[in-house]
């Protein structure tokens, strides 16, 4: 059984990797800093480790999907991220694609029953 669990764990990791990006983009219509995003996603049942999320945010920024600014007025300086215009377009397309995937997967799984 433990071998099975290991395989499941690896497959789940692969599955999650792609969904995290969409999840992150979905929450950035309004600006968020890294840790607030972790808690926000967690509240909605999406587990992301900060060690994964922080580098991901930087990567999305360098790809032009996010914009960032430092806020130094608060007690501790925080880097806020928000969707750029490109990011919004990319997110919309990804949502459509995701829904297509869900529809076809549903059909496949229904047939398999």
């Amino acid at each position: 059984m433990s071998a099975d669990n290991e395989i499941i764990h690896k497959l789940m990791q692969e599955l999650r990797r792609g969904t995290i990006t969409i999840g992150v983009l979905s929450q950035l219509k309004e600006k968020q800093y890294g840790y607030s995003l972790v808690t926000l996603l967690e509240e909605k049942g999406v587990q992301v480790e900060p060690g994964t999320l922080y580098p991901l945010l930087r990567r999305l920024e360098s790809q032009g999907l996010l914009q960032s600014e430092w806020d130094t007025n608060e007690a501790r300086p925080r880097k806020y991220y928000v969707l750029s215009e490109t990011g919004q377009n990319v997110y919309d397309t990804l949502c459509l694609e995701w829904k297509n995937i869900v529809t076809s997967m549903d059909i496949l799984m229904e047939e398999g029953k």
């Binding site: 808690t39 900060p50 060690g51 922080y54 580098p55 990567r59 501790r76 880097k79």
Partner: protein, 335 residues
């Protein structure tokens, strides 16, 4: 608190300089936020810090996440060619050194242990050299992205079925094994020339014991001619490599062979110039061992054979190259 700074330092040391301060600031904020989420539970601050850092994972892994893409010394596209070449070269070195070891052991069986130690040390020396140079070569090629198209054509992004090369006519196919054997032989020859040119000669047995070897070659001449010999053997390895890459006999390959063979013939003339390469005292040494008189018929006969064969070697070499050139053109142009 000291532990947090140490953690941030460990991470930022491993990310690009330009992003260090930014990532450092962001990390510090993150760790403080994470700590704050835990202060509700009454606990020792040190323990909380440790827990947070453990959750973030090792600095190495976190830094790797920040760097993003993976870095390779030799990328997966080239790894197969790399290991193939390593195997060929190491195999050739082992065979050549094994041959040297056997010859030395026959010549001087008492010192077999010394020869064996010599075999091991020189194998390690040559092996490490070969390994290092091949690795450096591949790493540089990879870094500079100078990879021959033929080696990476399987991995290019854009690919059309029409790109598939036609299956070569069976008569025009070049067998991989054949070319690898060719390369192995050239490499063995190089090692033999470097380490044991004095051992190539006529073995002398006197009263059932081995008394030495009368070398065919003139050691000092060999040493001065070494660069030419290297280039000559290098060209023959290059020819095999071209065959390996091409995979079939083509007009282009034939043309390469034509020019490389002209260069080879030129080198042969340099190497055999004035017959300097041959041992000048070969006949003297041989007649001493065989106790021949300089004016005897036997001496004249052996001397005649020696003179003729040394002259014929060059002719045979050149004839071999000419025949090869003609046959390459024949294979390339026949239907």
């Amino acid at each position: 608190m000291d532990m947090i700074e140490r953690y941030i330092y460990a991470v930022t040391q491993k990310v690009p300089q330009s992003q260090r301060s930014d990532i450092g600031m962001e990390l510090r904020g993150l760790i403080e936020d994470m700590l704050e989420g835990r202060t509700g539970q009454q606990r020792n601050e040190e323990d909380a810090i440790e827990e947070v850092l453990l959750e973030l994972g090792s600095p190495g892994e976190l830094a790797a996440q920040y760097r993003g893409s993976k870095h390779y010394l030799i990328s997966p596209e080239l790894f197969h060619s790399y290991t193939t070449l390593l195997k060929i070269v190491l195999l050739s070195i082992s065979i050549a050194m094994g041959v040297v070891f056997i010859i030395e052991s026959i010549m001087d069986p008492q010192a077999i242990l010394n020869h064996f130690i010599g075999l091991i040390t020189s194998f390690f020396n040559a092996g490490i050299h070969a390994f290092a140079w091949i690795t450096i070569g591949f790493a540089v090629a990879d870094y500079k992205a100078i990879i021959p198209e033929e080696l990476k054509h399987n991995f290019k992004g854009e690919w059309k079925p029409t790109d598939l090369p036609p299956i070569p006519d069976e008569k025009k196919q070049i067998k991989r094994g054949e070319t690898i054997v060719g390369i192995v032989f050239s490499l063995i020859f190089i090692v033999l020339i470097i380490s044991a040119s004095g051992l190539l000669g006529i073995p002398i047995v006197k009263d059932d014991t081995f008394a030495g070897i009368i070398p065919f070659f003139n050691q000092t001449a060999i040493n001065t001619l070494l660069p030419f010999i290297y280039v000559f053997l290098g060209i023959s390895i290059l020819k095999e490599c071209l065959k390996l890459i091409s995979g079939k006999w083509t007009k282009k390959l034939a043309l390469y062979y034509f020019f490389l063979n002209i260069a080879s013939i030129g080198l042969l003339f340099v190497i055999f110039k004035d017959q300097m390469i041959w041992n000048p005292t070969f006949m003297d040494q041989l007649s001493q061992v065989l106790e021949l008189k300089t004016h005897s018929n036997e001496y004249a006969m052996i001397n005649d054979i020696w003179q003729r064969s040394t002259q014929w070697i060059l002719i045979i070499f050149i004839a071999g190259i000419l025949i090869e050139t003609v046959s390459v053109f024949y294979k390339a142009y026949r239907k």
